[in-house]
Symmetry: C2
Subunit: 169 residues, 2 copies
DNA sequence: CTAAATCATATCATTTATATAGGAATAAAA
DNA sequence: TTTTATTCCTATATAAATGATATGATTTAG
């Protein structure tokens, strides 16, 4: 289960991704639009800046904007910036490593080996899903090379809303 | 990050998987061997029983033993039995559904769509890893049909201990 | 200088996770 | 039937993480 923090971060990033090239956006604006507690969001934005996902300008006329392009921002990078622990076990984290008191030898620990597989695949999964996957796809067929002039981005594509999936819990 | 609860559950299940056909195992024994707090483990074993993963016999000479075969017990089924929430968002859980206060319409929520993909793949991932994947593989080539007489199971196979993987946090 | 914004740090409140405790129920054996 | 060994039920305590708020300092355009 991801935390609210992570969810808010992603909502904020998607918000910014949709306004790329339109100058900095106020934290206040994001908070209002996305219905996130303002002060809480500010903390999150600072984390994202430190993590290198957004940049900001202080003072009047300031705000936040994306550092890279949407396709470079994966869910994994967000989680890392937010400093959320998603490693399956504490003994499998490099940044927050904690030894398992109930295991004598990591090298032969069956459980650990089991979770290494999980970790690898989960990591791969999260790194392949990027902000771009929820952005309207530029139809480059007809439009040859979108004019550099800033215009309101095309309206968001409605992703399929059914897709019967089986919830895990 | 999985909880200690889940880890203990898996350790206990692996313990039992290695003793299939050897009669019930005391919770005390598992606790000692796996270095899990005894009373805490008991609670977990009850959950596993209710979840249908193990059976138990009360009273003298009682204990716990696997209900199904190791290849039928996936990490997903364990998580479900333990009642751990691994759905990425509360709005994506059927058993513990909670509406997102910061989202007006689930059908068009971008974040939700993003996480549905994660959920689907994570669910698939967890359901494919079973207890059998950490059990010694029966080499059915040489040994034709292992004698029904109970013998000490073949010693655990040493899984590869290196496999440079990239921790997620 | 002033207004509008980010930035830094501390603190509080709530929930969740972890663990422990006491004893009831069950079943085998003496 | 009594004893003994075990699971089972319910409650409670302790610790940690999460979510949110508060206060004010800092930055920068006008
Ligand atoms: S060493 Fe971490 S689970 Fe065994
Ligand atoms: S409805 Fe749950 S994230 Fe938007």
């Amino acid at each position: 289960m991801f935390t609210h923090r992570a969810k808010y971060a992603i909502k904020a990033l998607v918000h910014l991704a949709r306004r790329v090239g339109q100058g900095p956006v106020h934290a206040q604006t994001i908070a209002d639009d996305e219905q996130i507690p303002e002060r809480f969001l500010e903390l999150i934005l600072v984390q994202l800046r430190i993590g290198g996902l957004v940049r900001s300008r202080a003072g009047r006329g300031g705000g936040h904007f994306l550092e890279g392009s949407p396709e470079d921002i994966s869910l994994l990078s967000v989680i890392r910036a937010i400093d959320e622990q998603i490693d399956p076990l504490p003994c499998l984290s490099t940044t927050a490593y904690v030894r398992c008191r109930d295991c004598d030898d990591e090298a032969t620990c069956t459980t650990r080996h089991l979770f290494i597989k999980i970790q690898e695949q989960q990591s791969a999964l999260l790194s392949h899903v990027t902000l771009a996957s929820v952005m309207p796809k530029p139809r480059m067929a007809a439009t040859p090379a979108a004019s550099p002039k800033l215009r309101t981005p095309t309206h968001p594509v409605l992703v399929n809303a059914n897709s019967q999936h089986s919830p895990t819990t």
